[in-house]
C-alpha cells in the first residue's frame, strides 16, 4: 500500500512545521497508519513532491491556487483535537 507523503509547512520549515510534523507522526502511529512526513517552508513548498500539504490557516492563503496537491489548513498546530481530527480524516481518505 502506498504511504502518504505529508509536507508540514511553516514560514521557514524549521520551527512550527516541525512541531506539526511530530504531532502528525505521533497521531498516525497511534492509529496504525504509516506516513512519510517532512517539513517545508511557505516559499518553496509548492515545488516539493508530496501528496498533501498541512499548513496554518494564515499561511494557507499564500499558497492558494499554487499548490498542486490538496491543502489542509490548521487553526492551531498544537491543538491535539484539531490535528488528530484533520490528520485522521486525510489518512482515511488517502488512496480511496
Amino acid at each position: 500500500m502506498a504511504v502518504p507523503k505529508i509536507q508540514t509547512v511553516c514560514g521557514y520549515g524549521c520551527g512550527s512545521s516541525l512541531m506539526l510534523r511530530m504531532n502528525v507522526e505521533k497521531i498516525a502511529k497511534a492509529n496504525g497508519y504509516e506516513v512519510e512526513a517532512f517539513c517545508g517552508d511557505v516559499g518553496t513548498c509548492c515545488g516539493n513532491d508530496c501528496d498533501v500539504i498541512f499548513i496554518s490557516k494564515e499561511l494557507g492563503e499564500r499558497i492558494e491556487g499554487r499548490a498542486k496537491v490538496p491543502v489542509v489548513e490548521f487553526d492551531n498546530f498544537m491543538n491535539k483535537a484539531e490535528v488528530e481530527e484533520k490528520t485522521l480524516a486525510y489518512l482515511e481518505s488517502f488512496g480511496k
Partner: protein, 144 residues
C-alpha cells in the same frame, strides 16, 4: 543528557510593552551568550510582520523563529515568561510565554525542539509555565 534550554536562557517576570519587545527580551540571552547576532532577532520580528502571527502556536504561547542564516552561530533555544500578556494580533492572544528558536540549519536543533514540543503537546503545559514563580522553577519545568 544536556538541557533542552540552558539555565541562563530561562527568564521569568519579563515585562514587555509590545510583541516586538517580547521577542527581543526573550532572545536577549541568546545574543548575550553569542548563539545569535542582533540581526537574527530583528529577522524574527520581521517574519511576524511578513508572515503573520502564526508563531503563536497555541493560546498564550509563541515560538519565535526565522530562517537559518549567518547570524546564527549555535542552534539554541530560550524562553521568557512575561509578567503581563502581550498581543500579537493572533486568535491565541494574549501571549504570556515566548520561546525563541535559532537554528544553524534545519536539522541540528531537532532533538532539543522535539523534547520541548512533546511537553507542549500536554494541554496544561503552558498553564504550568505561566504558574512558575522563579527562573529556577521554569528551568526545571522545561527540562524535566
Amino acid at each position: 543528557m544536556s538541557d533542552s534550554i540552558a539555565r541562563d536562557c530561562v527568564r521569568t517576570g519579563v515585562h514587555a510593552g509590545t510583541w516586538q519587545d517580547a521577542i527581543r527580551l526573550a532572545a536577549a540571552p541568546l545574543v548575550e551568550r553569542g548563539s545569535i547576532e542582533g540581526s537574527y532577532v530583528e529577522r524574527m520580528i520581521e517574519s511576524v510582520n511578513e508572515l503573520g502571527p502564526y508563531i503563536v502556536l497555541m493560546p498564550g504561547f509563541a515560538l519565535a523563529h526565522a530562517a537559518p542564516g549567518e547570524d546564527v552561530h549555535v542552534s539554541d533555544l530560550s524562553v521568557a515568561l512575561l509578567d503581563e500578556g502581550v498581543s500579537f494580533g493572533s486568535d491565541n492572544d494574549p501571549v504570556r510565554v515566548v520561546m525563541c528558536l535559532a537554528c544553524v540549519d534545519r536539522e541540528s536543533h531537532i532533538a532539543r525542539l522535539q523534547t520541548v514540543a512533546e511537553k507542549l503537546l500536554d494541554d496544561t503545559f503552558v498553564e504550568r509555565m505561566v504558574a512558575c514563580g522563579s527562573d529556577q522553577e521554569l528551568y526545571e519545568l522545561v527540562n524535566a
